[in-house]
Amino acid sequence: MNLTLHVWRQAGPDDAGAFETYRAEDISDSMSFLDMLDLVNEDLTRKGKEPIAFEHDCREGICGSCGMMINGVAHGPERLITACQLHMRSFKDGDEIWIEPFRATAFPVMRDLVVDRNSFDRVIQAGGYISVRTGSAQDANATPIPKRDADRAFDAAACIGCGACVAACPNASAMLFTAAKVAHLSYLPQGQAERLERALGMASQHDAEGFGNCTNHGACQEACPKGISVDYIARLNRDVLKGTLNKAVGTPD
C-alpha cells in the first residue's frame, strides 16, 4: 500500500518545528508501524536527508520507549498495544497519517518524535521504591499475599512508563502513571511501611513536574497499552488524603 505521512520534524529542543509530508510506498500489511518508519528513513538517508528520529528499543511492547501520536491517538488506532506492536494492516492504501510527538510541558520534545520523559523517573525517585535489606534473598513464599491483592499489584505493575496516558489526557495529567507506580507497591505487604509517604511524595513530585490536574475523564485508561485502570487513581487520592490527615506521616521522631 502507499501512504501519505505528515510527520512532526524538529531539529532540537529549541527549534520551532513543523510538519513535513512524505510518501511511504510499497508498504506491506505485515510490517509494523516502526518498520514502515524505518523504510521511510532508509529512503530519506539515501536522498541525503535527516532520518525521522523516534525512540524504540524492544519492539515488542515491553520497554515503553516508542510512544507517539498516530492520527491523534497515542500508540495509534488499536487498543491495548504500543506503537511498535501496531501493524500496517490497520491502515489502507491511500491513507493519510499524522504522526506527532507526545505533547506535554513535562515531556519536552528533544527531536522530531522523541520526548524527554525524565519527569517520570523523578516521580519514581520521589517514593516509588521499598526500603529492604539487600543481600541474601528471602524465601519466595515467606510472606503470604492474598491472590486478589497479588493480581491487583501485578496489573498495576504492568505499566511500562510509556507516557501515553499523559499524551492522551486533555489536562496532560500523569495521574494514571503515578497511581500505577504507587499501587503496585501499596497492594503488597512489603509496600506498607512507606505507603503514605510514598503517595504524598510521588503525588507532589507529579505536580512539581508540571503535569496537569486529573478531571476523571478516563482518556488515559483508554490510551494505555497495558490497560491500567483509573480505579488506581482513586486509591492514590485516598492515600494522599490519608497521608495529609495522618499526623505521624512525615514527622521526624
Binding site: M69, E100, R103, F211, H217
Partner: protein
C-alpha cells in the same frame, strides 16, 4: 495547619475541595428541588390560606425565629452556599490554568478518545450554571428581572414568571446543563475523595446517572407544568 495548606497547594487537595463543596451544592440542589415540588400540592385558592409553596417560603424566612432573628438561618445558609460556590469556582479556575500550562502546544490531529459530553463540558457548563444562578436570583428572589413580581407570593411569581416561553425554555436548558455537570461531578467526586471498593465502583455510574435524571425531571417539572397549564386544562395555573 501546614499540612492542610500543603494539601490545598496540591492537585489532589484542590480537587478534594471541589468535590466537598460540589457535594454540598448537590445536597442543596436536591433540597431546593424538593421544595419546588410543593408547587404541585393541591390548594384551594378561595380557602383563604397561603399556597403550600408560599408557606414553605415563609417557613424558610422565619426558621429559628424567635430564638434567632427572622431571616437569620436563611442568611447563614446563603452565605455558606455562596462560600461553597466561590471556593468551588476558584479551585476550578486554578486547576484549569495549571492544566492549560501543562500542555501549551496541542495536537494537529486531535481525536478525543472517550471524553463523555458531560466530562468535556464541566468548565463551560459550570460557568453557564453560575450565570444562570445569578439570573435566577434576580428573577425569583429579588424580582428585578421579573415582569410581575410580588414579594412573598412564591407560587404566583412562579406561574407568572414562566408565562414567557423563552424564560421557561431557558430554565429547562440551564437545568439540563446542571444535570450534566452533576452527573460527571458525582462520578468524579467518588474518585477524587478516594472512595474505592469494588461495590462502589460498580454503582458509581448508575448512581450518578440516576441522581442526574431525578434532578433534571424534578426541576423541569415546574416550568413544563406551567407551560402545559397555558395550553391545556392540566398544569399549573393561578
Amino acid at each position: 495547619m501546614n499540612r492542610v495548606l500543603n494539601l490545598y497547594r496540591s492537585s489532589v487537595g484542590k480537587k478534594s475541595l471541589m468535590a466537598v463543596t460540589g457535594i454540598l451544592l448537590v445536597g442543596f440542589v436536591f433540597g431546593h428541588m424538593a421544595g419546588n415540588l410543593k408547587a404541585f400540592q393541591s390548594w384551594d385558592p378561595a380557602g383563604g390560606t397561603l399556597h403550600p409553596l408560599d408557606q414553605y417560603g415563609e417557613f424558610l424566612r422565619e426558621f429559628g425565629y424567635p430564638i434567632l432573628p427572622e431571616y437569620g438561618v436563611l442568611w447563614v445558609a446563603r452565605i455558606a452556599l455562596l462560600a461553597a460556590v466561590l471556593v468551588h469556582m476558584f479551585a476550578a479556575y486554578r486547576l484549569w490554568t495549571q492544566s492549560r500550562a501543562a500542555r501549551t502546544r496541542g495536537y494537529r490531529k486531535a481525536e478525543s478518545q472517550v471524553f463523555s459530553y458531560a466530562s468535556r463540558t464541566m468548565r463551560w457548563g459550570g460557568v453557564i450554571i453560575f450565570l444562570f444562578v445569578i439570573y435566577h436570583i434576580l428573577h425569583f428572589t429579588t424580582g428585578d428581572v421579573h415582569p410581575d413580581f410580588e414579594y412573598g407570593a412564591v407560587y404566583a411569581n412562579l406561574v407568572t414568571g414562566f408565562q414567557s416561553t423563552p424564560v421557561a425554555l431557558f430554565y429547562i436548558v440551564a437545568v439540563g446543563a446542571l444535570s450534566l455537570h452533576v452527573y460527571h461531578g458525582i462520578w468524579s467526586a467518588f474518585a477524587t475523595l478516594g472512595v474505592q471498593n469494588a461495590r462502589v465502583e460498580r454503582a458509581r455510574r448508575p448512581l450518578a446517572a440516576a441522581l442526574a435524571i431525578v434532578l433534571f425531571l424534578g426541576y423541569i417539572s415546574v416550568p413544563v407544568a406551567v407551560l402545559a397549564g397555558r395550553w391545556t386544562s392540566i398544569g399549573l395555573t393561578l
